[in-house]
Amino acid sequence: MRNDLRVVSGLVPDGSRVLDLGCGAGELLSHLATRGCRGTGVDTDEEAVLGAIRSGVSVIELDVDHDLGEFADDTYDVVVLSRTLQALHRPADVLTEIRRIGRRCVVSVPNFGLWKHRAFLAVRGRMPVSRALPHEWFDTPNIHLATLPDMEALFARTRWDVEQRVLLDESGSPLRRQAGGNLRAGAAAYLLQR
């Protein structure tokens, strides 16, 4: 399993009902099923959806930006946005909508504030490309890049409280020291509660 998914799964309590938005081939939900979780994935990538169905993960092909109205109030314990929020057109609206569907939300996002990204931009004057942000600006799925303070401001604005924050290195593993995060983290995973 991807390193950051391990961290994300660690933030999901055993036995939860989980909605995984941008579930890919359902790796996280497959793993969570071994811990007594039940869940539904959402994705639009055909190969990913087929992979999820093939591995027994229930997946609903919907557009996260527009179709979350399909899900009823308070139907999930945890809603997961793993490396998804930065690829959405309307991240603030989606975070607000999720508050209706689930009590908790786990978000993992790349950190544009990593010192290397800042240096890349400062020294070369070009958009950073790194292990955490591996795409060129013109073909990246990540259309809303933010630093960790930016992200936390958005959580506050959409009335989510940060219950837990795990800083990750560029490979998605947790950093040993959690201090000075915005400069040192390639990404972060948040457990939010409403």
């Binding site: 009902r17 539904t40 087929l50 169905i53 093939r54 009823a72």
Partner: protein, 381 residues
Amino acid sequence: MATLGLTKPQRVVLFTEDDPLRLAGGRTLGPVEVAFETYGELSPERDNVVFVCHALTGDAHAAGEHPDDGRRGWWDNLIGPGKPVDTDRFFVVCPNLLGGCQGTTGPSSPNPETGHSYGRDFPILQMSDFVAVHRALLDHLGIERVMAAVGGSLGGMQVLQWAVEHPEQIEHAVVVAASARLSAQNIAFSAVAREAIMRDPDFQDGHYFESDKKPEIGLAIARMMAHITYLSDEAMTEKFGRRLQQGEEPGFRFGVDFQVESYLAHQGRSFLDRFDAMSYLYLTRVMDYYDPFADPDAVTRVAAGGTHFLVVSFDTDWRFSTSHSREIVRTLEHAGVPVSFREIRSPWGHDSFLLQPPGYHPTVQAFLDHADDCRAQRGGA
């Protein structure tokens, strides 16, 4: 593409006059004979069954070549060796529907009380009556549970009804281009089709079986209109455009001039050879009244039963549009029932469920492969 070769139709009497089928509407029906076909081999554990439910005018001949005329089954592209419904691995059962006219007891069958065809004396059916007969057929074959039940359109509705009533009997349910509740527009189309049949002078109040005339004009018109609803505007444009049947100049007359008119006329005509007007009335009416989730306990029952669902719709299907499928998905998902959903892009409208738009068959295959994995794991445990 590999096909099954010749497939053999079978018949069995499942209910008798003395031990009749008790219908949801309260009446009894017996004898009930069922025509069905099976493909592949039943595993020793009897756990590899895929039950196929057909749509409004389908029959038991779902795959392979018919022994009489070599006609390919209506789902031959989906069912066969190495296909999504893989007859090398699965034992496939497909019966003709109750109320039909292609081997299973219906309005054209003899009424034991009179010796004549039932005609309009045939009882009104409900979706659960189809399921009762399907279950009796399984019983006859010595099968307790099915690995998967698969159906499109009215077939998908049977699958959904079955899972609502007996979810413990269906491990995986595939519901394609179906609806859990027809809209006013859907009912309106069926109403016009039925009116065309019933207003035909040869309908004779439903007792035409004993005469030498049948409501052929009405049935052909019903079929022509239904065909319009099965195709998308885009598909019709691609298939026919405004092309003329003969010559390059329009005839400025009322007969068949455009190719699309000729196509509809042909569809209407050829339907007369294989379908009965009374069956058309009875079967369309079942769909109109169908509303499984009107019972608030229904979805709770499904959730407790453990059936996994795959729901598929097609983006140009306007007969049962994606909104119908999404309503099924929403209802199931809200109740915590495992359900996967895809809307497949296809230019072909409702008919897409019989065709192979990209992504459709791989989706069914992925779901059934997983069903097969579950079976293998159980076997190994």
